[in-house]
Symmetry: C2
Subunit: 411 residues, 2 copies
């Protein structure tokens, strides 16, 4: 790939991949025209290879299509696509007690319920952005209700069955806090600073960031932890030591995004700190790309696919480094962004059938050629392309970027 | 590695690896001298890197050490090692309702309970072989009680919470039937043909094999399935299509073993059929070794580590091919055995610190250098070395083997 030189060319890379490749791929292959909603288990060429539906993805896909409708152009095909996921969620997403399933059949019959509530978080975000697109009152109500349920299950002690016996080893994860932060940001963006479970979105954001900073950020180790003890202590076991650099860097850009909105240098510094530490933990100096898991102390991790290169951490690191660069003008972030952007665009795209592969070996060879499954669909990749395009389009930061890009050699 | 030529040299390879490397490694590094039981999370050099204990492995380890005591020599260190696991299980294995945990802390406090009951199956086998070693009445009773619980949870409809909603898609797995077969074989070997839940061990064996043959064996596809619908139908979804050749070939040798004990050519033919089909599915013609997962229709599998080479399927295929060879004298099995034996002994052993790595990339490079975790410990590898050594030592088959080995070129 010839990396574009300068702001306009880089902007076009993201925009064109989004509008000319990724979104058309999912509109063509991923819409269920018989039962509504999205089919994400697609082979390399878009053939459906499993009709079971991810409930996460009904929300994630609807978020993507409605976001494009709201922020790019009022394309009725995008609104129809968003509506399809929203209506499938309404019709088939919930168990009788209201909790969302993890998977259902193509026609919406229940398959799996899981403990956790990420389905609720995605459904809240999807409904919020769909409400903005349509003024649909039920969507507004559902967004609030799903966020309420998400907060209830995630943070009411004892509400969600614990994976590890809490009487022996009380633990908490950074994931639920990151989703609280992201969902609150999205609801505030679409619905205003609404109150859910006694706090405004901004208050939930402040609370999440405070918890993350207090309990998961470890200056002594220069790391953001994934799981800690209930008092924030490091758990010196496989799970406790396991770092997920791409996930932590996703957290970094959520915080950078908040810092930028508020022009809050403290938040920007916090986000940059996480990015700096976790880049060092995650970047593969030998083969390039971002490792999936690392151990805090450099010990072997339990998960044997630890050194694979997944599409989604790369998407998150592309966003984070670009955002860090626009916020600071620091050439280090320009360099990192170029490294991860170039590695990603060289290895993940499928030149024949479009879209990105999801799962590469450490050296960049494709492991499984599918384009989607329960975890991969129209979300991380289009979100990255959209966010980076829009970020570069905004004028103030673009000046800094252009300067940064201009100073680097063409590759 | 120079592969030994002839029966005696091959016998010595298995015996020496077992008694000179693998068992000393676990006795040196894996015994918890403070709290009893086994620590399996060991780094390459044997350093403990996680003190949490697998309850599976308290049974598996006790089975291994007691089996050596019963069948190799009455080494008191082996009996002590077996006793340590048995006593840890008695003291710390069970929840208040009697169901065994999945993991506990080093000192035996509960960490995780899971739906399934493989802990019970391993505990039954361990107690059966320990009872034979010691005439310990409680061990006999525990073996019967754990097998009873295993059968109850596995086969009483509704007793174990289903992973997939049974009203939508009733499924069953080959795993519970394989463990029924294996556990019944072990109890019968150690305790005689005892009756548990209304059937003798032999009746449970016949029942398991009958279910496997009727519902999981697919002549049209030349495959043994892992998961099917309640009527044995193929489920054309990721999980339903997913084949695990090493697991299926483990099933093959359980059936071959039964056929040999009974001199039953029908069972031998069944075992050989599974081996023949799944060898073709699993052997990697490009890099050698056995793939972890394959798709029934050659589609991408959902699990992105599908092409890795794990130690345990290789152990099972080494056993199955050697057993097939001793039962038939067929040069094809000699060739397959040599292929998988040579590949395994060339790639898995750690020449510096001993024992085997567990997780290799497709081309045989080490992925994680640890020697144990919740799933790897003193079980598959020592079982394979012990079984193959003892199989070659038995005279009748050895003649066939010697003929087979003699006809092949030295490598």
């Amino acid at each position: 790939m010839t990396t574009p030189d300068g702001r306009a060319a880089l902007t076009a890379v993201y925009r064109d991949a989004l509008l000319g490749d990724v979104i058309p791929f999912w509109l063509r292959h991923g819409l269920d025209r018989d039962h509504g909603g999205y089919l994400t288990a697609l082979d390399r060429d878009g053939t459906v290879i499993d009709t079971d539906k991810s409930i996460w993805f009904q929300g994630r896909g609807a978020w993507t299509f409605a976001t494009l409708y709201n922020t790019v152009e009022q394309n009725p095909a995008w609104l129809d696509a968003a509506k399809s996921g929203i209506e499938f969620l309404r019709r088939c997403g919930s168990a009788p007690d209201g909790k969302l399933y993890f998977t259902v059949t193509r026609d919406g019959r229940p398959l799996r319920m899981r403990r956790y509530v990420y389905s609720e978080s995605f459904a809240a975000m999807a409904n919020a952005v769909y409400a903005k697109a349509t003024d649909d009152g039920q969507a507004t109500e559902d967004a609030m209700r799903y966020f309420d349920a998400y907060l209830d299950y995630s943070f009411t002690p004892g509400r969600m069955p614990a994976k590890v016996e809490p009487a022996t080893r009380p633990t908490k994860g950074v994931g639920p806090l990151m989703f609280c932060l992201l969902t609150a940001q999205e609801l505030r963006e679409q619905l205003g600073d609404v109150r859910v479970r006694g706090r405004s979105c901004t208050e939930w954001i402040d609370w999440s960031i405070g918890e993350i900073e207090r309990d998961f950020l470890k200056p002594d180790h220069e790391a953001l932890m994934e799981v800690v003890g209930s008092g924030g202590e490091i758990l010196d076991h496989f799970d406790g030591r396991q770092l997920n650099p791409g996930h932590a860097i996703e957290c970094a850009w959520f915080i950078l995004h908040e810092g930028k909105l508020r022009s809050d240098p403290r938040l920007v510094r916090l986000g940059l700190t996480i990015l700096d530490w976790m880049w060092k933990r995650g970047w593969d100096d030998e083969f390039g790309g971002v490792f999936y898991f690392r151990d805090l102390r450099g010990l072997p991790v339990q998960d044997y696919w630890h050194d694979m290169k997944f599409w989604w951490p790369h998407c998150e690191v592309v966003i984070a480094t670009l955002l860090a660069w626009t916020l600071t003008g620091d050439e280090k972030y320009a360099r990192w962004h170029r490294q991860v952007h170039d590695w990603s665009f060289r290895h993940f795209p499928d030149p024949e059938f479009g879209e990105w592969y999801g799962y590469l070996h450490r050296d960049g060879r494709v492991s499984v050629p599918l384009k989607g499954n329960l975890w991969k669909g129209p979300y991380h990749l289009p979100r990255m392309l959209w966010y980076c395009w829009k970020l570069l389009d905004a004028s103030k930061e673009a000046d800094v970027i252009a300067k940064g890009r201009g100073s680097r050699p063409a590759t």
